[in-house]
């Protein structure tokens, strides 16, 4: 109850989310894992399965790399679909903006998706 009041007094919803996040961390390990799966699942390119796709939100990489990725078609709002990969799953090919680009695992992990992956219709 006290927490709910506290979050209502805060103006930005983001701050409220932070509070809940903080609250969540204080719960048991089991609850934390459930929450992580709900919110963090398929949040970066590496977590996309074959047959799924996602919409790119941002690239958490140094500017040079981010720029190069944007030049290759990885712009916020574009749909990214995983395709074939090298043996062992790294690097992996992604379809974006009418082309196919291979990325290493550590690059793909830094590319954050806007919404949960969904099945291709």
């Amino acid at each position: 109850m006290q927490l709910a009041v506290a979050s209502m007094t805060l103006q930005g919803t983001e701050l409220a989310y932070l509070r809940i996040g903080f609250w969540g961390k204080m719960q048991t390990g089991v609850r934390k894992r459930v929450r992580d799966r709900e919110h963090a699942a398929a949040h970066n390119l590496m977590e996309l399965q074959r047959g799924e796709h996602g919409i790119l939100d941002r690239i958490d990489l140094p500017e040079d790399d981010a720029r190069r990725l944007m030049e290759l078609g990885f712009l916020p709002g574009h749909t990214v679909t995983p395709a074939h990969s090298a043996p062992g799953g790294d690097p992996r090919v992604f379809r974006v903006d009418g082309t196919e680009i291979a990325l290493r695992r550590e690059t793909a992990r830094k590319m954050i998706l806007r919404q949960k992956a969904s099945r291709v219709p």
Partner: protein, 634 residues
């Protein structure tokens, strides 16, 4: 570039309007990678082209002449493939500088040919915004028109031209369809050319998201219909990038290419050898002066001839790499090998050059041009000569035959000599990988995530582009490496023939004296002065040591199979010294062609000097250790 001044001067004798021909007219070709830029360039210029470097940068560009109708011509310059004009990478900076007329030695282009892939227009149009903003007369060329039509896409040239305010042409550069529009533009671009204001205003802030939005709008307004996905490419990828089948096809291809190079390269060399020897003798028969004949025949002819012998292998290798690259498979090969290469700090694109280095380091170093990351490229160039090239084979064969008895190590499976040979191949490979690891964790450190590779659709390689590639490679090899080899061949001849008082006796010649002089330095390796002379002459090319030793030991027609040369060597060298000699040859950079090509590819003497010092140092230390260990045990 000086050549081009020459060309324009030569055509000035024709009677065109003097005002235009008074200066060198240049048109720049630019476009994103994989847009078919080089194919178009080849279409326009044919054989009237040459490769050149801009002063002070490693970026290469090609210049070519395009003949226009009434005996007039225009120069086109093929600039590196770029995605944007922001001068961030070296390639982009060069293109930027050239387009603004800020490049030294090159006047500002009068017009631009902007080549874009019509099957992926919305993405490629991103580059059009900054290029059109420059205000130069520009022809937008929509390439791969045949692909677009086949896959059910459509681009309206007239609408697009109105939106952009500049002429647009649909072209298939590989088939030559629509290419006449480009000639017409070149004809007109050199005269007065005015651009209409574009219907779609260019974006004010030209960052990538803004340009991409603008490109989407242009595509929409001009009723561009994107084609269906490339079905055949997807089908082929499900084989070539299959988790099990992919690596299998990859390995089969690699083995097949090498089998063909070794199987066909050797007979081709054997065909060339008598031709070179015979022509040398024939030329020699016209020369009466003995010293002069010796210089021409044994100095220049056989010195340069020894290098020419590698041309068939180089061309074969270039041909296969060309087929792999033009078809689009090379990108898949890089993808498959990336993880393994990453363990040594390298990346997938280094794999093919390193593999080529087993035949010869020279084409391997030329093949590193596909690696965009400069640090990865330099690391690959630096380790390539450690791979066991075919020039080491004669030396290995001679020493192994002289010292290692022909008895089975594992009966019916592995002979002692084969094992020694395999061991030397492994030694080179391990040294290369260890060096790569060392370089990439110290002076050539770069972030690991910089591997981003576009997978182009599969395409049939064209005969014309493969032919031009082979011509280009042979020209580079013969001209650049050839001039160095010629100088070194004359130098080494002089060392072994002079002073005149030595009467052709190698022991008392300058080379002999140097051999004696360096004996104290190579004594710890188990080498005597005779080997010392061999080391000096083999500075030009490794296999030279075989013929030098043949001369020193007075064996007529000494080659690696000569039993008497093996015997002489066996008596003159300790087993420790013999192993040290093998180790020395495995590591030392005794190849002037490689030094020359590294200098050329890195635009300076710094890297070849570092490489030479490192490899010679490594060779010396390891040979010393090998000799000590063996002398201790034996």
């Amino acid at each position: 570039m000086s050549d081009c001044h020459g060309c324009s001067a030569a055509t000035a004798t024709l009677p065109p309007p003097p005002q235009i021909d008074a200066k060198q007219r240049i048109v720049a070709i630019i476009g994103p990678p994989n847009s078919g830029k080089s194919t178009l360039f080849n279409r326009l210029t044919g054989l009237r082209q040459k490769v050149a470097n801009f002063p002070g940068v490693t970026v290469e560009h090609r210049m070519g002449r395009v003949r226009l109708d009434p005996g007039r011509e225009v120069f086109v310059v093929d600039l590196p493939g770029i995605y944007s004009l922001n001068p961030r990478t070296e390639d982009e900076r060069v293109t930027h500088d050239v387009l603004l007329g800020e490049m030294k030695g090159l006047p500002r282009p009068e017009a631009v040919l902007l080549i874009l892939d019509s099957t992926n227009l919305s993405r490629h149009l991103v580059l059009a915004a900054p290029v059109l903003s420059l205000g130069l007369p520009t022809l937008v060329i929509l390439n791969m028109a045949d692909d677009l039509a086949r896959r059910g896409g459509n681009a309206n040239v007239a609408d697009l031209s109105e939106q952009l305010g500049t002429p647009v042409a649909m072209v298939s550069a590989t088939k030559g369809e629509g290419i006449e529009k480009v000639f017409q533009f070149l004809d007109g671009a050199t005269a007065v050319h005015r651009r209409k204001p574009p219907l779609m205003e260019l974006p004010v802030i030209q960052d990538i998201p803004q340009c991409r939005k603008w490109a989407a709008k242009v595509g929409q307004q001009s009723k561009y219909r994107a084609p269906a996905p490339p079905l055949w490419t997807r089908r082929l990828d499900s084989i070539f990038l299959h988790p099990v089948g992919g690596p299998l096809v990859f390995l089969l291809l690699v083995v097949a290419v090498f089998q063909i190079i070794f199987a066909a390269g050797k007979p081709l060399q054997d065909l060339l050898q008598p031709a070179i020897d015979g022509s040398g003798k024939w030329v020699g028969s016209f020369l009466s002066n003995e010293s002069f004949r010796s210089l021409i025949v044994s100095g220049i002819w056989s010195g340069v001839g020894n290098v020419l012998l590698f041309l068939p292998q180089i061309l074969l290798l270039s041909f296969f790499i060309g087929v792999l690259e033009d078809s689009g498979y090379l990108a898949r090969a890089a993808l498959i090998s990336d993880r393994t290469m990453a363990r040594f700090g390298l990346q997938g694109k280094s794999f093919i050059p390193l593999l080529s280095a087993y035949a010869c380091a020279v084409p391997a170093i030329m093949a590193t041009r596909t690696i965009e990351n400069k640090r990865d490229r330099i690391a690959t160039i630096l380790i390539a000569p450690l791979m066991t090239c075919s020039a080491r084979l004669p030396v290995y064969l001679l020493v192994i035959a002289a010292f290692i008895p022909d008895r089975p190590l594992i009966p019916y499976v592995l002979g002692a000599r084969t094992a020694a040979m395999l061991g030397l191949y492994l030694l080179g490979l391990l040294a290369a990988l260890a060096t790569a690891r060392l370089l990439k964790s110290t002076i050539l450190k770069s972030s690991r995530s910089s591997f981003m590779l576009e997978m182009p659709p599969y395409r049939w390689p064209t005969v014309a582009s493969l032919g031009l590639r082979l011509l280009d490679r042979s020209r580079v090899f013969l001209m650049r490496a050839g001039t160095v080899i010629l100088g070194v061949a004359i130098g080494i001849w002089a060392l072994t023939y002079l002073p005149p008082s030595s009467h052709g006796e190698i022991g008392t010649s300058f080379a002999g004296r140097i051999g004696h002089a360096i004996e104290p330095a190579i004594r710890p390796l188990g080498f005597n002065w005779k080997i010392g002379i061999g080391l000096i002459t083999s500075l030009a090319a490794r296999e030279t040591i075989v013929s030098t030793l043949g001369t020193i030991y007075g064996v007529e027609g000494g080659d690696e199979h000569s039993a008497s040369l093996q015997q002489a060597l066996h008596l003159d060298l300790t087993p420790g010294g013999a192993v040290a000699l093998l180790v020395f040859f495995a590591f030392a950079m005794q190849c002037m062609s490689t030094v020359a090509v590294v200098r050329r590819e890195t635009s300076g003497w710094k890297w070849p000097a570092v490489q030479f010092a490192y490899m010679t140092g490594l060779a010396y230390v390891c040979a010393f250790l090998a000799n000590r260990l063996l002398s201790h045990w034996a």
